[in-house]
Amino acid sequence: MVPSKFAYHKPSTIKEAIELLTTHGDDSKILSGGHSLVPVLKLRLNDPEHIIDVSGIESMGGIRDNEKSITIGANSTHGEIAKNAALKEHAPMIALAASMIGDIQVRNFGTIGGSIAHADPAADWPAVLLAADANIVLTHAGGQREVDIDQFFKGLFMTAMGEEEIITAIRIPKTPFNKNSTYVKFPQPASRFALVGCAAAIANSDGYITEARVAFSGVSATPFRDSNVEKSLKGSVLNEDAIATATASVADDVSIMSDHFAAKKYRKHMAGVYARKALSALA
C-alpha cells in the first residue's frame, strides 16, 4: 500500500494548475479530495510522475445558487452536496445520490470533481448528472468550455476531458424535471458501488409528462440515458401502467456489464426493477 514516487504540486489558482498540467501533461494527475485517485495510487494501478493538488484553489469550492442554475464547485465534497439546501430543493436527486456514496468518511472528503474525472461507470454521479442535464465546466489554458453531460462520459474510465483540462465546476440547471427527481441504487454488496443506479427526473404539465430523463450507472461500461424509457414516458400520465410500459425495455440498446454478482440477464432485470422504483417514487 505504497504509491510509486511522484512530485507533488499544490497550486493556489486555476491558472497555476493549468500551467502545471500543460508542463507535465500525460505524466500528471489532478488530485482534489483524493478519494478516487489515492486508492488507485496505493495499489499502483496508476503511477503518475506529478500530482497536482487542486484542493487549495478557492474558486473551485462552494456551491452557488444562481438564478437559472446551481454551480457546484468541483472541489465540493459529497457530504457538502448531500446537505446543500438549494440542491435539496431544486434537484433532490443530486443531494440524495451524494448521501448514498461510499460511507461517512468517504463523503467527508471525496469530491464530485474527482469522482466524475475518474469516471467509474459504477459510481453514483454519472446517473444523476445525466438525468439532471448537467454541464461540466472544463478549464484549460485558453479559457473555459462547458460540456453537455450527454457528451461527457465516453466509456470505462473515459471522459471528454482534454489532457490539459481541469473540471472546475458542475452546473445543474434549475428545471422542473430536476425539481421532481430521485435516485435509487442497488449496491454491489462488497464495494457498495452501483450494480444498478437509476436516476429519474420528470417534468409534468397538466398531469402529463413533458420531459423525462432516466439514466443509469453500473449497468453498462458507459453510463447512459435510456431514450426508449424516456420516449415512452413522454406525453403519458406517470402511473403504474405507464411505468410498466416504459420500463419493459430498460437497457435494450446498451451492452450490459457482467460479473459474479450480477450477470447480464440479472443486471438488466434489476435495471428495470430500479427504474420502476425510481419512477414510482415520483408518481
Binding site: 504509491p3 496505493k42 460511507d103
Partner: protein, 155 residues
C-alpha cells in the same frame, strides 16, 4: 524528494519532511509513533485507520500526508481527556463493544462523527453509519449498544 509538512496532531504541531507519496496513516504510525490508528486493508474499505481531519472522520489511508499539511488531526490517542475517557470509549468498555481491539479505534472515530451529526441515532441509523467500518469479532451487536450508550451519555 521530501517536502515539508506541518500537521497538528492531538493538539500538538509537528513539522516533518516527508515523501509526497507518504500516506497520512503511515505519517501517524511511523513518523509520530501513534500506532493506535491501524491498517486493515489496502482498498479504503475497512475503516480501521479512521481519524478526524479538521473534525471530520477520514480514512487516513486515503489521504497523502501532504494533503493534510496545515490541518488538524485527532486520533484515538487524543480522544480521552486525561484519565477521563470519551463517552464512546466508555461505551465500548461498558457494553463489550470490542474483542481483539483492532477495529476499535476506527469504530470510535467514525461513531464520533456520526453522533456529532446525529446525536440520537436509531439502531438502523447506527448500523448504516458504520458501513465504512469492518469488525470481524463482535458481529456488531455490542458495537451498536456501545454507540447507543455513548449517545445517551452525551445527550
Amino acid at each position: 524528494m521530501k517536502v515539508p509538512v506541518s500537521i497538528t496532531v492531538n493538539g500538538k504541531q509537528y513539522d516533518k519532511m516527508v515523501e509526497p507519496r507518504l500516506l497520512l496513516v503511515y505519517f501517524l504510525r511511523e513518523e509520530l509513533a501513534l500506532t493506535g490508528t491501524h491498517i486493515g486493508c489496502d482498498t479504503s474499505s475497512c475503516g480501521a485507520c479512521t481519524i478526524h481531519l479538521d473534525g471530520k472522520a477520514l480514512k487516513s489511508c486515503t489521504m497523502l500526508a501532504v494533503q493534510a499539511n496545515g490541518k488538524s488531526v485527532t486520533t484515538i490517542e487524543g480522544m480521552a481527556n486525561g484519565e477521563e475517557l470519551h463517552p464512546l470509549q466508555e461505551g465500548f468498555h461498558m457494553e463489550h463493544g470490542l474483542q481483539c481491539g483492532f477495529c476499535t479505534p476506527g469504530m470510535i472515530m467514525c461513531a464520533a462523527d456520526m453522533l456529532k451529526n446525529n446525536p440520537n441515532p436509531s439502531e438502523e441509523e447506527i448500523r448504516h453509519g458504520l458501513e465504512g467500518n469492518f469488525c470481524r469479532c463482535t458481529g456488531y451487536h455490542n458495537i451498536v449498544k456501545s454507540i447507543q450508550y455513548a449517545a445517551k451519555k452525551m445527550a
